[in-house]
Symmetry: C2
DNA sequence: GAGTGGTCTAGACCACTGC
DNA sequence: CAGTGGTCTAGACCACTCG
């Protein structure tokens, strides 16, 4: 492995300022190790839910101290790529974990209580990427895409209508039956059936009038205000792998956000 | 200073497992130091924008190693209470910093470009807390509150109407003229004029039809969909010190959110 | 008890800022 | 140059989990 770069910092230490070609942008050891770990995660070396090697083991692999590996893992844990469990190990984050669900669907009931959610796939078809979809998913216009429409129920009532655009190259095999048969969240489905893990997302929210079809699906009046949530989801290498637009009926639920 | 508790951990080490009454909930040294720093921030020992003592100095004060102080500061920096600047020092975060502005107003234009924002205070009056305001601000019903109504302009156009509820005990002296005269954001105003620093906030978003007055102020049609943003802001000790409801016109702007 | 992550220390040196 | 935060090390011991 081309690991020399990683040891620049240490070399600079031991060489006591003797002329070392300074890296154009300084990158500490722990960040290089972090990048290496992300690459190994991306490559599928460890599956979601599995444990990665112990800190001591990794320190030995990278030939650095445990503290340095620790700092790399700290950042990955802060970014929700890894999950630490004292006494057990460090695990690859997974959407099978129900806690991940609320990280990506920030809806809570206006008046207390927790409720069951249920996804009801309605349609699934192929198409060619238009200008907008191509831009969002970093594809070329005309590239194959897969589109899914579904309704999300909370406690038996429809609350969200989603239209989901996926790169055909990755998700070309998705069918309505597969979606209907799968138990678990959509991202859990992507993770287990297509080895694509959503890691991060950007959302853009607006208030818009409900179109006729959505209004029917949500059991509300056409034209009444709904929350439009446009989302781009990214996988490990900051690669956009999903673009979706959801209409949220916010009569009984609201979008919750915490500002730090 | 009653600092013995902080040293429990160290004592346990040096006493080599000799019977030490175990704390009911284990709290590592660095967290106790963190709590102490928060308290000192809250007390106003250091003003926003000022630098706090160096890590070495704090380590000496607390009689711990630099690494332990460092970990405490790390967490406070992650929570945006402190800001580290290599080579210069560690500073108390302030809303005077324009970067803080976008942390609390997540509006971006739909089509590129950055624009000037301007706050236009419209009204400011006293009232007694109703049931809802009392609950949100942790007051008693009937306690004095101060209410402010204002419009926020982006690039000269009205985009947000806010109605802001403040505890009268703290903000009883606010007047419309003070608000009009102040250059800078509202939170900067609170910080500099009332020594209250907003540290964290919770927002609840819904899509609602615009009422007549708001519609007029926003130059939109009555009943057209607007984004309702309800916010509770907290100061250092998780104390709620502001409750506001904003109506955002999302025709040209959208609420941006990143999901980690 | 063995193994894992979590805390703490002491000390060295690097990177950045400003005098 | 001194002072500050940032990185790295080596080693000790604590807290937690599980067999």
């Amino acid at each position: 492995m081309a690991w020399t770069t990683v040891k620049n910092y240490v070399q600079m230490q031991s060489m006591k300022r003797i002329a070392v070609p300074p890296a154009p942008t300084f990158s500490p050891l722990y960040r290089q190790i972090k990048a290496s770990l992300v690459q190994r995660l991306e490559s599928g070396e460890w599956d979601p839910g599995e444990s990665i090697p112990s800190e001591a083991e990794l320190a030995s692999q990278f030939q650095v101290s445990q503290g340095t590996v620790r700092k790399a893992i700290d950042e990955l844990a802060a970014e929700n790529l890894l999950i630490r469990r004292q006494g057990k190990g460090t695990f690859v984050a997974t959407h099978d974990d129900p806690r991940a669900f609320f990280r990506f669907l920030r809806l809570i009931p206006l008046s207390g209580g927790i409720q069951q959610t249920k996804s009801i796939p309605l349609e699934c078809w192929r198409a060619k990427a238009g200008v907008e979809a191509a831009r969002m998913l970093e594809l070329k216009v005309g590239d194959p895409i897969t589109i899914v429409r579904r309704v999300l129920q909370f406690a038996g009532k429809p609350v969200v209508v989603d239209e989901i655009y996926l790169p055909g190259e990755i998700f070309g095999e998705v069918t309505l039956d597969m979606l209907r048969d799968y138990q678990g969240s959509l991202y859990s489905f992507f993770e287990n059936r297509f080895s694509i893990r959503m890691v991060r997302a950007e959302e853009r929210l607006r208030a818009v009038p409900a179109d006729r079809m959505s209004a029917e699906l949500l059991h509300i009046e056409e034209g009444s205000p709904v929350l439009s949530v446009e989302r781009i989801s990214f996988s490990y290498a900051n690669k956009p792998v999903e673009w979706r637009r959801g209409l949220y009926s916010t009569h009984d639920y609201c979008y919750f956000n915490e500002l730090g």
